[in-house]
Symmetry: C2
C-alpha cells in the first residue's frame, strides 16, 4: 500500500515502449494460449489484505502484458480490430488523467465541444444535414438505441405506459446481421421471434425483395413492422447490404431505417470505396465503431441520428434536476440524451487521432486495408491448397485449407487454426458458413504490409503441411 508517489516514471515509459517494440518483432508470439488452470499457475490473482509496493505493482503489470494476447501484433487477425496507434493511446491516457464525465458541459466543457464537433463532422460525411448523436458504449448499444427510438416512435405511449395492449412490433435485419439485434429485441421487450431475419445472397447482402415480402407477410398477419436494420460490413463476410434499395422499402412502410456500420462505417471515409454505403444519407440512424477500422482503443462507438430531437425525446426522463441545471449552460449537456449517467470521454481519442491523421490519413488507411485484403484474396485464389469460401466484399477474407488426406475438412481447419495459435505464430478466427468451417482473415491493422500478409499464409500452409 504505502507512500503515495502519484507520478509516472521511467519504468512506465520502458514498459510501454518495450511492449510496442516487441509487437513489431516477428519472433514475438502473438499469444501464449494457455488453458485457464495453467495461466492461474503463472499469475497470482488473489487480492491481498495488505497492499503491495509500487515495484510489485509494476511486476504484475509486466505479467499482464506478457500473458495477454498481443492485439497489436501484425499476425493478429482474430477480431474486427487490430494494431496500435499513438494518438489513440494518448487519448486514453489523458482522458483518464483529467477523468471527467460526459454528462454536463459544466464538468466536461472541452470534451463536450469535441464530441459535438465529431458528431457534426461524422454526420456531414454521412449526408445528415442536421444530425443528433452521441458516443455510446459499443456497436451493440448503438443498435439497441436505434431500435428503441424506432419502438418509441411506433408506440408513443410506451415511454410512460409500457406496452399494454400494443400490436406486436416486428423488426427486420438480415440473417448475417450482428447478434446484438437479437439482444436488443430481448432488452426492449419485443421478443426474439419478432426479429425477422431476411435472406442474403451469396456475398452476404440482404435481398431487398425478400425484405419487401417479409414486411407484407407481417402486415397480413396483423403485426406492426417498425424497424429495418441494414448492415454495412457484416461480421463474417464483411458484406454491405444494398442501402439504396432498402431505403425506399423502409420509407414506403414508414419504418425506421437504421444502418449498423460497426465494422464498415469507416469505409465512408474513402472516396474510392464509399459507394458500398450508397443510400446511407436516406438512413434514419447509423451506428459506427471507430475502435474497429479507425484503430482507436476499445471502446469508441457512435450513434448518429439524421434528424435532431429523437434521442432527446426517447431518452430524457424526469428526476434529473440534481445534475442537469439550466443555470450552467444546461442546453449543452449531453447527459439527457444518453442512457448512461456517468460516461467516459471516448471522444478525446478520436478527436486527437483525427487531428493527427487528418481526413487524408483515414482515406489512405481504408484504401490500404482494401488493397491488402485484395492481395490476401489473390493469394488464396492462386494457392492450390486454399479455397475462397465467400466472395470478398471488403476487409474480411473467408477461406479454408483443403488437405489432401481423408480427414474431415472442418476438423482439419479447426486443428490448423488452433495449432497456429498454440505456436503463437498467428491468431485468426473462424466461423461457420452454412455447415462449413471458414477461416476469417480480417485486415484492420494500419501497419500491415504485403509481407505480413504473405507471412501469415506461409505460416498457415507450413503448419497445415506439418499436420497432414
Amino acid at each position: 500500500m504505502s507512500d503515495t508517489k502519484p507520478f509516472l516514471d521511467q519504468r512506465v515509459m520502458d514498459l510501454v515502449n518495450t511492449y510496442i517494440l516487441s509487437n513489431a518483432n516477428p519472433e514475438t508470439k502473438v499469444a501464449h494460449h494457455l488453458p485457464p488452470e495453467k495461466l492461474r499457475s503463472q499469475i497470482d490473482l488473489t487480492l491481498p489484505e495488505n497492499g503491495c509496493s509500487l515495484d510489485e505493482l509494476y511486476k504484475t503489470i509486466e505479467q499482464y502484458l506478457t500473458f495477454s494476447v498481443r492485439t497489436g501484433h501484425r499476425q493478429f487477425f482474430n477480431q474486427l480490430w487490430s494494431g496500435f496507434t499513438l494518438p489513440g493511446l494518448l487519448g486514453e491516457l489523458f482522458a483518464s488523467l483529467a477523468n471527467t464525465s460526459m454528462y454536463t458541459y459544466e464538468v466536461a466543457p472541452v470534451a463536450t465541444l469535441m464530441e459535438k464537433e465529431l458528431i457534426k463532422k461524422l454526420g456531414g460525411i454521412c449526408g445528415f444535414e442536421n444530425p443528433e448523436g452521441l458516443f455510446v458504449t459499443g456497436g451493440s448499444n448503438g443498435n439497441l438505441q436505434a431500435m428503441m427510438i424506432a419502438r418509441n416512435r411506433a408506440l408513443p405511449h410506451v415511454k410512460s405506459k409500457g406496452y399494454s395492449n400494443a400490436a406486436e412490433l416486428i423488426a427486420f435485419v438480415s440473417e448475417e446481421a450482428h447478434y446484438s439485434f437479437e439482444k436488443s429485441a430481448n432488452v426492449l421487450g419485443l421478443g426474439s421471434t419478432n426479429l425477422r431475419k431476411i435472406k442474403t445472397d451469396d456475398t452476404g447482402r440482404m435481398i431487398p425483395e425478400e425484405l419487401a415480402m417479409a414486411i407484407e407477410e407481417s402486415l397480413e398477419k396483423g403485426k406492426q413492422p417498425f424497424f429495418v436494420g441494414a448492415t454495412a460490413g457484416t461480421t463474417v463476410k464483411g458484406a454491405f447490404d444494398p442501402l439504396e434499395d432498402i431505403a425506399p422499402i423502409a420509407k414506403q412502410h414508414d419504418l425506421w431505417f437504421h444502418v449498423d456500420g460497426a465494422l464498415g462505417g469507416t469505409v465512408i471515409l474513402s472516396p474510392r470505396h464509399r459507394h458500398l454505403l450508397e443510400g446511407l444519407d436516406k438512413a434514419d440512424s447509423f451506428a459506427w465503431n471507430a475502435h474497429k477500422l479507425m484503430g482507436l482503443p476499445l471502446m469508441c462507438s457512435i450513434l448518429l441520428v439524421r434528424e435532431k430531437g429523437h434521442l432527446w425525446k426517447t431518452n430524457s426522463v424526469s428526476g434529473t434536476d440534481y445534475i442537469f441545471h439550466d443555470e450552467s449552460y444546461g442546453a449543452y449537456d449531453l447527459g439527457p440524451i444518453s442512457l448512461q449517467c456517468g460516461r467516459r470521454v471516448d471522444a478525446l481519442k478520436l478527436w486527437l487521432s483525427w487531428k493527427y491523421y487528418g481526413d487524408k490519413g483515414y482515406t489512405e488507411r481504408v484504401d490500404r486495408f482494401f488493397e491488402l485484403a485484395a492481395y490476401a484474396e489473390d493469394i488464396v485464389n492462386h494457392a492450390p491448397s486454399l479455397e475462397l469460401m465467400a466472395p470478398r466484399s471488403s476487409v474480411n477474407v473467408c477461406f479454408r485449407y483443403v488437405p489432401n488426406t481423408s480427414e474431415d475438412i472442418d476438423k482439419f481447419n479447426l486443428r490448423l487454426r488452433e495449432e497456429l495459435a498454440r505456436k503463437g505464430k498467428a491468431l485468426v478466427n473462424f466461423a461457420r458458413l452454412g455447415e462449413d468451417v471458414a477461416i476469417r482473415l480480417v485486415i484492420a491493422n494500419h501497419e500491415l504490409t504485403r509481407e505480413d500478409v504473405s507471412l501469415f499464409f506461409d505460416s498457415l500452409i507450413q503448419t497445415a503441411e506439418s499436420l497432414t
Copy 2:
C-alpha cells in the same frame, strides 16, 4: 500526419506529472468555467484534411488539460467521485496498450481471470456465496440489467415472444432513487408510470411500510409487482435504504430485490460503517461503481447477482457461433452473459488498485471519508451563517448559506456556488430538497485533509460575504 513514432517520450511524462503536481497546488483553479462561445475561441476544434505533427498534437493535449475541469483537485466536490490514484491511471494505460475485449477467454485470458476473481471477491464481501456478475458500462446499466433479469423472470415468455398480453408489471424504488430506474423502465418497455416511487423519511431512506402498502395497492388493482430497487447511498443525501427491513417484504411477494450501491457499495469495505448495508446478503443483485468511492477512473461498474445462472439465462442469445467457440475454453467466455459484444477491460484498473492498496487501504479510505464528512457537518453546525439541510448519512453533506440580506435564499446560494466556480476556488454541486436549494458537498477524494475541508468552507463564507 507524418512519420510514425509510436512511442511514449519524455513529453508525455512531463505533461502528466506537471498536471498532477499543479492539482495539488491550492493556487491552481479548479476550473476556468468559460461559456461555450468563449471556450471555442480558445481551442480550434475543427478537424483538418491534412494531419498535424506530433508537436502540434501535444500542444492540443496541453490545451485539453488546461481547459478541462480538474476533477483531481482537492477543491473539486461537484460529483460523486474525485481525486487521482496512480494504480487507476496505470490500469487504464496498460488496458489500452494491450487493447483487448472482454468477450472471450481466448482473446482476453488474463483479464477474464481477473474479472472473475474480482466478482468472486466482491460477491464474498456482499455475502453472496456463489455469485454471478460482470463489469457493466455504468451504474445505470447495472440497474437496467437487474431490472431486466427481474422482468424476464416475471414474464418467462418475454425473451422470445415479447410482452403480448402480459399483466402490467410494477417496479418499486424510493423517491430519492437514481433517475436510471426511470430510464430502465423506459428501455425495458415497462413505462415510467409503472415505476412507483416510495416515500422516504427525513434522512432520505425508503419507508418500508410505505413500500408494503404500495405493493398491496398494485396487487389490488390487478397489476403484477416484480421488482424492488433499494438504494445504498442516494445521489443527493447519501442515504441508505433499510435493506434488512425491505428484504422480507420483497421476499413475501416473490419480488426481485436489487440494491443500487453505485455510490454506497464501497462502504461495505469498512467494518465500522458496513452496518449501513445490513441485509445486503438477502439481495438478489447489487450494482457497484468502483469509480466513485474507490477512486478509479470512469467507468468501473459491476453488477453482482447472488445466484449463478440469471445473467446467462437473461442475456444469452443465438447467432453467436462466429465468436463464441466451445473449442477455445468457451466455458470461460464472459461475452454470452453481457449485453455488450466488444467490451473494455475495466477490471484491470480495479484489480491493480486492490493489489496496491489491499483490503486495508480501502477500509482506511472509507473510514477517512466518513470522518471528513463528519468534520464538514460539524463546521456547518457551528457556523452561524450555515444551515444543515438534511441529516448526514454518509459522505454527502447538504447545507446552505443563510445571508443576512433580503435576497431570496435559493437564488443567493445559486449565485454563491456560481461565483466559487467562476473564481476557480471550488466546484461544488447543488440540488433541490423539496423547494429549497441545498449545496451538496461530497467527500470522495482520498488525498483530502481537514485543512482542505476547512479551506472549502473558508472560501465559501468569504465569497458569500463578498456577495452580500
